[in-house]
Symmetry: C2
Subunit: 157 residues, 2 copies
């Protein structure tokens, strides 16, 4: 038993992803420089800018994030006037997430910082491996993966 559990920590994919996530969180946050914008926040407003005024639901899905978690994460951005919520015209339950002019500006300003961080990352890991890693991670984050994972449990479990 001692022998067996001996390497769980190294064989756990979830753990591995989390460790890497913490490391990269540090590195990319640092790259954001003096700006008080965190890496996650840059990522979020970039996604908001990419989707066209998504509802919170749509944005949460794109971010592979829980809806309520997204709501909480948006709060500081709304408070700092980078993002605003506008009620949807047709569905009065839904609220669309939109960048304010200030938010758009901030996002644009930080692109260079992100690029530098990403450049370094690619330099260290190699462009090929970097690209492949992103592909693999995107698959893991996909609904297809979640479905297949569930299906893999249909039998024994």
């Amino acid at each position: 038993m001692e022998k067996q559990e001996d390497s769980i920590w190294a064989h756990c994919s979830s753990s591995s992803v989390r460790r890497a996530s913490r490391q990269l969180g540090q590195l990319y946050d640092d790259a954001m420089g003096l700006s008080d914008l965190r890496g996650t926040q840059f990522s979020l407003i970039t996604q908001i800018g990419y989707l066209n005024e998504p509802t919170q639901k749509e944005l949460a899905k794109a971010m592979v994030m829980d809806l309520s978690a997204l709501g909480h994460t948006l709060k500081p951005l709304i408070r700092d006037d980078l993002v605003e919520l506008v009620p949807d015209e047709k569905d009065r339950r839904a609220k669309r997430v939109r960048l304010t002019p200030g938010g758009r500006k901030r996002q644009a300003e930080m692109v260079a910082n992100w690029q530098e961080a990403q450049r370094r990352f690619d330099a260290v890991l190699g462009a090929e491996k970097s690209e492949e890693l992103r592909r693999t991670l995107a698959f893991i984050a996909s609904e297809d993966f979640a479905k297949a994972y569930e299906a893999a449990g249909e039998k024994g479990d």
Copy 2:
């Protein structure tokens, strides 16, 4: 510019890792079953069991985690009597982290749950790719990676 930022979200390694991390967090947490132990907590107590009564500092390093973050993360586990802190004999600043008998028991009980989650993960991604992914992520989480990343900025930045 619209064209350029168009795919930042997909080309950001940090973002990719985070999305995958959220997805796996969900999946592995579910696997923990009715137990109120989260995936991260299982991961943590497993690491504690693997290292021999590490100091918080040592444990934080192994987990690629901030020392104070670790301290906070340990609190619920201490409260629930799965873990205890014992002052180091020689260095009175240091506190060693130790599993309680109950903690050891809980960890052992959850190994099967973890294995099932990991089995499914490997089944979906393929054992090869799974193994390679963990290797890559372990590298990213390593100090060598952080050093190389810093070094990659020595020039232009």
